[in-house]
Amino acid sequence: MPKPSDLLQGTLDLLILKTIAREPLHGWGIAKRIQVLSGEVLSVGQGSLYPALHRLEQQGWIEAEWKDSDLGRLAKVYSLTRAGRKQLERELNTWSRLSSAVQLLIQTA
């Protein structure tokens, strides 16, 4: 398996927020879903996932709760807060601006 490419700075926040926007998830679930939905291209290691989750929680974008989970034991489940939803909007806008700018440059340069 090729080494997954490094995530662009700040992209991880967007991926996490987007992933839990649909339904609340625990850390393992978030990592798995990012991996699966990106067609195994992106993989988020625990070393960057958990600090990011704690940072987002610290900033009030997401909140956590211990709940019974599909893993058969209590898991810390993260969900978006209302402020987190707004933040997701902002991150999506930033991302689409950035990616279309890169696309434009690649095509014309």
């Binding site: 850390g27 393992w28 290691g45 625990q46 070393g47 704690h54 610290q58 211990w66 807060t81």
Partner: protein
């Protein structure tokens, strides 16, 4: 709303630190166990699976440390540790800390003394009604190329000021001098102030 959540979260992180750390431990352990299960599902023995999982998982302690950094707990805990260290050093090295404390005390004391004088003389408003309206007017004179500040006011100049100074509600002039009191006891010199009627009215006190 967001602010309230953020503040509550930080207080919890700080005062229930051990609880938060245990939380983190459980959270990361869960992730690890899932990796093991996944590896076992692909046909490995448990011990092989654990080894593989540990390799995939990477350094746990540094992750925990990063999480604590994110919660800003380290910032406060480190500060508390620094303060403790400082206090211990002050106690164990009196040869350094006593002179340091004494010079700090003297410095702070001197500053307070100077400030109370400056405050009373320069900063606090004068004890008159509407002190912000009081202004001093000084007489100066210009001859050809010579400019002299505080030129004595002549008797003739006073009416000119009084008539023409239209920016003022009241206007008065004063000068200091001395007088000698004689009588039954030894003569004594006292300081005097000679003023026109307008001075007290301008200050807003007394005779009216």
């Amino acid at each position: 709303m967001r602010l309230r959540r953020v503040i509550l979260h930080r207080l919890r992180s700080l005062f229930r630190g051990s609880h938060a750390n245990a939380d983190l431990e459980r959270e990361i352990d869960l992730h690890f166990e899932q990796l093991v299960k996944e590896a076992m599902a692909s046909g490995m023995s448990e011990s092989e699976a654990r080894i593989l999982a540990r390799r995939q998982f990477g350094p746990v302690e540094s992750t925990k440390e990063k999480c604590r950094d994110m919660r800003r707990v380290n910032l406060i805990e480190n500060f508390i540790r620094d303060v403790r260290y400082a206090l211990r050093m002050i106690r164990t090295k009196p040869g350094f800390s006593v002179p340091a404390l004494v010079s700090l005390a003297l410095g702070i004391g001197a500053n307070i003394a100077i400030f109370s004088v400056v405050n009373a003389v320069l900063i606090r408003p004068l004890p008159y009604p509407e002190p912000e309206k009081l202004v001093g007017v000084f007489n100066s004179a210009a001859f050809a190329s010579l400019f002299i500040k505080d030129w004595p006011l002549t008797l003739e100049m006073y009416p000119t000021y009084k008539e023409n100074a239209q920016s003022f509600e009241e206007f008065g002039v004063w000068t200091v001098g001395a007088a000698i009191v004689t009588g039954v006891a030894d003569p004594e010199q006292v300081a005097t102030v000679t003023m026109t009627h307008g001075v007290l009215r301008a200050l807003g006190v007394g005779l009216g």
